[in-house]
Every structure is written in structure tokens, then in C-alpha cells.
């Protein structure tokens, strides 16, 4: 029977880009273990070629579990020419104003 440890859970949380509190991680480890135990019943089912594998095997190889390092070594706002309330401030494109005029004309 498969088990899911606290270490497994932390690894999965990183892959899922999900921050979990200590309490959440403890609760989830127990819940997931109970659910996976229940899922074990599918092993009793007969074999069949699945739509995923197909008759000639899997077309594309599976990638490894990997979370690429964050390429940003500086704070986002330090990279921005202008920054307000969590957003980059960019020069307004004249085309947007042209579109707005066009939309108004349509109305």
C-alpha cells in the first residue's frame, strides 16, 4: 500500500506551487493517506490498454519532477521602470486610445 509522508507532501506542495501552513500540512497528510488507501481498490480491476498509453505505448516521454529555479534574483519592483500597487506602470499605447474611440463610435 502506498503511503504519503510529510516529506512527500512538502515535495508535492512545491511542485504544485502551493504554500501550506504547518497545521494544513499535518491535516492534509492524514487526509491524503486515508484517501489514497481508499483508492487502492482500483488495483483489483482488470487490465486494459488505456487511452493515455495507446496501443503503441506512450507517445511522449514523461518529464522528471522538477521545479525550475526562479530566474528573478531581484525584487519585481526593482526591475520596473515605474511601479504602483503591485503593477508595472507602462506608457499608454496610442493604439488603445484609438480603439476606445472606435468602440465609442460603434456605440
Amino acid at each position: 500500500m502506498m503511503t504519503i509522508s510529510r516529506t512527500d507532501l512538502e515535495r508535492i506542495a512545491v511542485l504544485a506551487q502551493l504554500k501550506l501552513s504547518e497545521d494544513e500540512a499535518d491535516g492534509l497528510a492524514g487526509d491524503c493517506q486515508a484517501i489514497l488507501e481508499y483508492f487502492e481498490i482500483v488495483r483489483e480491476a482488470g487490465a486494459v490498454e488505456s487511452e493515455v498509453d495507446g496501443p503503441v505505448g506512450r507517445a511522449a516521454p514523461l518529464r522528471e519532477d522538477r521545479f525550475d529555479c526562479d530566474p528573478l534574483v531581484e525584487r519585481l519592483e526593482d526591475l520596473a521602470p515605474d511601479w504602483r500597487e503591485g503593477y508595472f506602470i507602462l506608457p499608454r499605447l496610442p493604439a488603445l486610445d484609438a480603439d476606445a474611440t472606435s468602440d465609442d463610435d460603434d456605440v
Binding site: 502506498m2 504519503i4 508535492i12 504544485a16 502551493l18 491524503c32 484517501i35 483508492f39 525584487r75 519585481l76
Partner: protein
């Protein structure tokens, strides 16, 4: 306050056309009823968002159109509620999640666009389990929805808000979404009719994706005929959804009273286990007796692999959910974590604070099932079992069975909070509904009686794109039930 309309959609249409009822009056009583349903100490809480002032203008335009005799659209003036994971222009789409805080879609779902084209009034967005993940409508950021028949009980889920709104006579029609039973299970708990169309029958453009190989938008109504009418409006090919099939849409209401003479109804024995609630079993057996009296042929059949349906469903659905929900990263939609130092931290913090416990549980399980070394054991195995269940169904159909009949849910609505901390028990609420999603077949739940005042639903499952047959069987059974609960007592 005026009493909310308790008539069926067909009766309301007749009253509107004959001008005994004006759209403006119907709209005002509907909105008043929605407000009143939440003014109680134990509010139903069916709606997350209520329509605004533009509805009055739409109603006035519809009244002018009726007055001039020009209005002939199928849902002209009919109030319809939309589950809040379906995009409606001009209203927020929350999916009952903090992670979509303040998000307003810039476009409209194809099904909603078709409703508007048919003259419907979109009166609000209904409550749900967060991202449609749940069976009780307790897992959301906006509080639980209560069952109109007993406010201490759940309405089912995840389309609990839509089912409760119809059951409480707040609206005659609503849209839900059904990934593993999320239209049919709440329809059963609330005593209304709910249908999951064949995969590909209704466009999912504008439906927030949960598990893409299983999701379908489905109609809910007070009667089988009303539900058929709504299905006919939203069904059909849509160029914005490549999974939506280009297959003719019949007039589902035209032949709905064709009867069941000679119809072969399969009764899968695995759906009547020893531990089935005896009241539910008795009502299902009585329903089968009535079908037989109408001329249907009742046949015992077997779907041996359906005992694996719930774990197979959750293995597939959670894997797809973990992939679909990767897009909620604090950059593209709604909520964004503040005062964090890197892009990765924005993603992790936003998702950590934005998702609720059930969504996190499913993302973790789905990611685990797709991770290296576990893919074949979990996601791959789920897909294999799915093929076995589909083969069982095909084999039964090949023997001449037209539809299957089963209980919709093993019991009646459970109490609020009763299963919230027991995910496996919660998942087992879907034990009779997930099969139709796994094989992509149409299925309907309709009320077949009650136990101690709580509705019990029966389910027909049909062959692919045979919604007409499913609706005919349901209409025939409904016509034999005179004491079905039409109102939730608001």
C-alpha cells in the same frame, strides 16, 4: 411582498404571452424573493451575486415586445440563475473562491449567450463548492447554501445554489455544471430535476475548467419538461469549444410525452447494494413498478467495474484539476499576495491564501498522481478503469437496453457539517453519479418521492446523444408521481 412565482416555466410562458403577467412584475417578485430568502436567521444563501439595474431595462424592453405581439422566443422574460463558475458579462465570476477576488470576465459563456438570445433574464450567480469541488456547497468562500426543505441540511453540491434556488421557487430555471454529479446530486437532495448532457452536447466555452474530460454544463428545472426546454436552448455546436459536437439538436419538448411502451430499462445490480438506504431502495423499486405498468421492460443488468468508479473518477478529476488550477497564480486573475520578494513567492503565497482546504487537498492529490513514479499507478490506472467501465456500459447497451435506472444518491440530504471533515464519506455521495461522467453519457435526476419530508431522486442514464430517450423516460415516470415536492417552503 408578493409571493414568488411557483408556476413552471411553461405556465409562466403562457401567462407572459397572454399578458396576464408582465415581465417587470415577474422580475420584481423574483428579486424580492431572492432577498427574502437571505433575510432569515438561517438564510438559504443560494446566490453570490444578484443582477443589477440593467435587468429593469431588459424587462421593460421584453414587455414592449410582448405588447406588440412580436415576442416568440422560447425563454422570453423567464428568470434564470447561473452557477458562479460560468461567465456572465457584467457580473463577477468567483467560483466561490478567494483566489478570484474581484475578477470579472471580459466575455460571456456560450450557454449564457444562448439564454440571452432566447430572451431569458439572467437574475444572478449562484453559490457552489469552491471551483465546483464538493458535494455539499459548504466548501466556498461565501458560506454554505442551505437546503430549502430543511435549513439544517446541505443542498448537495457542487451546484447547490442553483438547485436550492429552483427548489425554493426563487427562479424556475438554473444552470449548473456536472463533473461527477454536481447537477444531479443537488437536484436529488433539493427535489428538482437536473440533467447532465452527453459530453460534447453543450458548449463549455466560458465554464471555468475543473476536470476537462468530465465537465459539462447542465440545466435544472422544476419539471422534466422545463429542463428539456432549457437543454434545447443551450445545446448545440459552438466554434469556441472544440469538444462540442456538431450534432443536430432536436426539439426535446416536442416528443417528450412519447411514453415508455417497449422501452428497455436496465437496472444495474451494483447500484442497489446491501447498505443502500432502504427508503431510497423502496422508492426506486416503486418507480420501476410504475415504469413497468406503463409498458417499459425492466431488465436486471450488471456493470461490474462500476464499483471502481469513485476512485477512478477522483484519480482522473484531481489530476486534471491540479493542471487546470495552475493558472491561478496571482498574475493573471484576481487575488495577488503582497509584500513578497520573488515571482515564485507570488505564486505560492497567492495560491496558499486564495484556495480553500478542499481545493488544496485535490491539487495535492492530483499533483501526486501525476508526479514521476506515480503517474502509472494513479492517473494512468484511473484512465484504464474508466475504459473498463465504458466497456461494461457498451456491452449492456448492445443487449438492447435503452436506459439505465438507478438511485441518484444513496440517501437523503445530510446535515450541515456532518461530512465536512470526512472526505472519503463526502466523495461517496457521488457513488451513483460519477459513472455517467466517466463514460460521457447523458443522465437525469428527478424526484421520485420523499422520506420524512426530504426528497429522494431517481436517475436515468442513456446512450450518448440520446437525451430525447432519457427525457421521455423521466417525463413518463414524473407523470406517475402526484405528490412530488415542488416547493421548498419559502
Amino acid at each position: 411582498m408578493a409571493e414568488p412565482p411557483t408556476r413552471t416555466t411553461h405556465a409562466l410562458r403562457e401567462e407572459l404571452r397572454s399578458r396576464r403577467l408582465r415581465v417587470g412584475d415577474l422580475l420584481r417578485t423574483t428579486l424580492s424573493a431572492i432577498d427574502a430568502s437571505d433575510a432569515d436567521a438561517a438564510p438559504i444563501n443560494a446566490f453570490i451575486t444578484r443582477g443589477g439595474s440593467q435587468l429593469e431595462e431588459q424587462a421593460a424592453a421584453l414587455d414592449r415586445s410582448f405588447d406588440s405581439g412580436d415576442e416568440a422566443r422560447p425563454l422570453a422574460g423567464i428568470p434564470v440563475a447561473i452557477k458562479d463558475n460560468i461567465s456572465v458579462r457584467g457580473m463577477p465570476t468567483t467560483c466561490a473562491s478567494r483566489v478570484l477576488e474581484a475578477y470579472e470576465p471580459p466575455y460571456e459563456a456560450a450557454a449564457v449567450r444562448r439564454l440571452r438570445d432566447a430572451g431569458a433574464l439572467i437574475v444572478g450567480k449562484t453559490n457552489l463548492d469552491e471551483f465546483a469541488m464538493g458535494s455539499s456547497t459548504e466548501n466556498g468562500a461565501f458560506g454554505p447554501t442551505r437546503n430549502p426543505h430543511d435549513r439544517g441540511r446541505v443542498p448537495g453540491g457542487s451546484s447547490g445554489g442553483s438547485a436550492a434556488a429552483v427548489a425554493a421557487n426563487l427562479v424556475p430555471l438554473a444552470l449548473g455544471s456536472d463533473t461527477g454529479g454536481s447537477v444531479r446530486q443537488p437536484a436529488s437532495f433539493c427535489g428538482v430535476v437536473g440533467l447532465k448532457p452527453t459530453y460534447g452536447r453543450v458548449s463549455r466555452y466560458g465554464l471555468v475548467a475543473f476536470a476537462s474530460s468530465l465537465d459539462q454544463i447542465g440545466p435544472l428545472g422544476r419539471t422534466v419538461e422545463d429542463t428539456a426546454l432549457l437543454l434545447g436552448v443551450i445545446a448545440g455546436r459552438d466554434r469556441f469549444d472544440s469538444t462540442c459536437v456538431d450534432s443536430p439538436v432536436p426539439d426535446y419538448t416536442e416528443t417528450i410525452d412519447a411514453g415508455v411502451e417497449g422501452l428497455v430499462v436496465g437496472v444495474p445490480r451494483e447500484f442497489f447494494p446491501e447498505d443502500l438506504d432502504p427508503h431510497v431502495e423502496a422508492l426506486c423499486r416503486a418507480a420501476l413498478d410504475r415504469l413497468e405498468a406503463l409498458g417499459a421492460v425492466i431488465r436486471d443488468v450488471s456493470l461490474p467495474n462500476s464499483k471502481y468508479a469513485v476512485p477512478a473518477y477522483y484519480l482522473v478529476a484531481n489530476a486534471e484539476a491540479s493542471s487546470n488550477l495552475a493558472r491561478y497564480d496571482g498574475v493573471r486573475y484576481g487575488l495577488r499576495a503582497k509584500d513578497v520578494q520573488s515571482a515564485q513567492a507570488v505564486y505560492r503565497e497567492t495560491r496558499g491564501m486564495g484556495f480553500g482546504p478542499e481545493v488544496k487537498r485535490r491539487i495535492v492529490l492530483g499533483t501526486y498522481g501525476l508526479s514521476a513514479g506515480f503517474y502509472d499507478q494513479y492517473y494512468g490506472r484511473g484512465q484504464q478503469v474508466r475504459r473498463l467501465i465504458a466497456a461494461d456500459f457498451e456491452q449492456v447497451c448492445a443487449t438492447g437496453v435503452d436506459v439505465l435506472f438507478t438511485p441518484t444518491v444513496p440517501g437523503v440530504a445530510f446535515r450541515l457539517g456532518e461530512r465536512i471533515n470526512d472526505p472519503v464519506q463526502m466523495y461517496l455521495s457521488d457513488v451513483f453519479t460519477v459513472t455517467a461522467n466517466l463514460i460521457g453519457a447523458p443522465a437525469i435526476s428527478l424526484p421520485i418521492g420523499d422520506h420524512d419530508g426530504l426528497p429522494v431522486g431517481g436517475q436515468f442514464i442513456g446512450r450518448h446523444f440520446q437525451e430525447t430517450v432519457v427525457l421521455q423516460a423521466a417525463w413518463a415516470l414524473e407523470s406517475t408521481i402526484s405528490d412530488r415536492p415542488l416547493t421548498g417552503g419559502v
